[in-house]
Symmetry: C2
Subunit: 338 residues, 2 copies
């Protein structure tokens, strides 16, 4: 069952059938209806490969992410897929882990599938040195690249991200103002957003002319019990802290577990702030204060930008927006500390 069969049954040429397939307006309403009726009756579905070949697009975009079972990345993938689908685009998902080599490999794989664009979900795609980001530029030479939560200034690369530095600085500042002296920052990985968060943390101290010790910033990539362990050791080594900010909620909950084990009062003895405002944060007790970086908004924005790029409209290459702070039981930064 192909376009020839349909054209025969409808008594027209294949060109006309193709035109109705593509919504070309140069077809009389009568024949259009006739052809649609024949298609319907025959249960005809156009062959996507042949269309792809002729049109040089199959209206699909590649979504690359490190690990879509991570709750945060999963949500991002979900929102992106939803928004793209709203615009009649399909998504090819590919999870590539955190190794540079694999990111590169799977980005190329997506390109070889002739996707119309690639969305890099997560700040971990932007590395710290230009050479390591070359693979993105190479890809951008072929199709537009959208980066979610990371920023890379380059041609045909479009970024949608939250101002993590400002948000972290804001919250850190409030904690300092409410009398916390010994804050700790736990950061999972040294990704683009991780760097920005740490910069914000440092900035808050600088703004108040306060000194920051190097062990107040911990790059740590562990699970909840491992965080608990790590903080115990830190404490045993004599590092004191009355507040922990973290680059995600899981790390902060690790700190909460530490506090419980030590019998510390939260937020009295120890204030906690997570990041991403995930569901995990409302499972614990007290519930976790978290910075909400408006992922859904960011994805909607990214999809909108992408659609414009694909239709050739001019768009800004960077969209930066500010985060919300969702205060719950692990802090009292917006109330007065008792």
């Amino acid at each position: 069952m192909n376009i020839y069969d349909i054209s025969k049954k409808a008594g027209v040429s294949i060109a006309t059938v193709s035109r109705v397939l593509n919504g070309n307006e140069k077809v009389s309403e009568k024949t259009r209806q006739k052809i649609l009726a024949v298609m319907e009756e025959a249960g005809y579905k156009p062959n996507a490969f042949a269309r792809g070949l002729g049109l040089n697009t199959m209206k699909t975009v590649g979504i690359l992410c490190a690990n879509s079972s991570d709750a945060y990345l999963a949500s991002a993938v979900y929102f992106m897929e939803r928004e793209l689908r709203k615009n009649d685009y399909n998504s090819i998902l590919c999870c590539c882990g955190y190794e540079l080599e694999d990111k590169q490999k799977y980005l190329e794989l997506l390109l070889s599938k002739r996707v119309d664009a690639v969305v890099l979900v997560g700040s971990n795609f932007v590395e710290s040195t230009p050479e390591k980001n070359k693979y993105i530029l190479d890809a951008a030479g072929k199709v537009p690249i959208i980066i979610l939560n990371g920023y890379l200034a380059a041609d045909n690369v479009y970024c949608s991200l939250c101002d993590d530095k400002e948000a972290t600085c804001r919250v850190t500042g409030r904690l300092l103002e409410t009398g916390r002296k010994n804050l700790l920052y736990l950061c999972r990985a040294f990704s683009y957003s991780g760097q920005k968060k740490i910069e914000g943390f440092r900035q808050a101290f600088a703004d108040k002319n306060m000194k920051l010790e190097e062990d107040q910033i911990q790059i740590f990539n562990g699970s909840i019990p491992e965080v608990k362990e790590m903080l115990s050791e830190l404490s045993n080594r004599g590092v004191a802290f009355d507040g922990v900010l973290a680059s995600d909620d899981e790390l902060a909950i690790g700190a909460l577990k530490y506090a419980k084990e030590k019998g510390l009062c939260v937020p009295g003895d120890l204030a906690l702030v997570g990041y991403n405002n995930s569901k995990m944060g409302i499972c614990c007790d007290p519930e976790l204060t978290s910075i909400d970086n408006k992922l859904e908004f960011s994805c909607i924005n990214a999809a909108t930008v992408l659609m414009k790029v694909l239709e050739g409209s001019p768009v800004p290459s960077k969209t930066l927006f500010s985060a919300d702070v969702v205060e719950r039981g692990t802090t009292d930064i917006f109330a007065v500390r008792t």
Copy 2:
């Protein structure tokens, strides 16, 4: 840059180039090397659409799920994508929500993209009446369908699932044996696995000749605070319960929040059992006992089955395996109750 350019540069015909592209062994080693070298040098990438047209496959499978931002479904999608990719298949992701109409619509959309197979992630794809499952059978007429966590006996439909009934029955039985009299079952939706879980719950009572009141089973689709609310009302209505089993961890954590609010001791006054063994379960305090339905195993199995189906090998249409119980702080069913 196409196959003709390569054939010219290598001084061979396009057929030979195509042969090395497809790993056909009827090419002398010398010319193969020559052609590979030319491809490499020219940076040639075969056009996936044209290959798709010629081979009638692009080695992609469609993954359909209700909502990939749900942590459990997200993990399933992740594992499936990973396993499929290991077998050189790509994944087109499509999230269709819970409406029958949309499931049908997006399943058809995936088929129109000429995927080689479709994986239905989640038991919610199997409806309770045969007519409602017709859309799956229709699809199975075109490509193999894999169902994760659900079961539907039909041609070209393959299911990989955990024995939810047995697991629920086992845990419920233990709770009854350790002296709990008034158990409650919270079930999010009346999906295939939801039904099986409830059947297991009923079975455990039947096995002990104990009577089960209708309000001991609650179909409830709400968030954590809503569950808390619902249980309060239930309690106020005079329904007593000393144990809550739930069809997922979130519901169980809602019950935990209820216990905290009421000042109930967990597990002393109220035992709690979740399902899926999610990360949420280790965020709360005490940590949640949960039934682990071995999602990763199930996905690996599903992918293996699918690959065999695609290569024409015979495979069982149903793989059923048993769940693990991960006991944590919200129960004492494997220790003696004090």
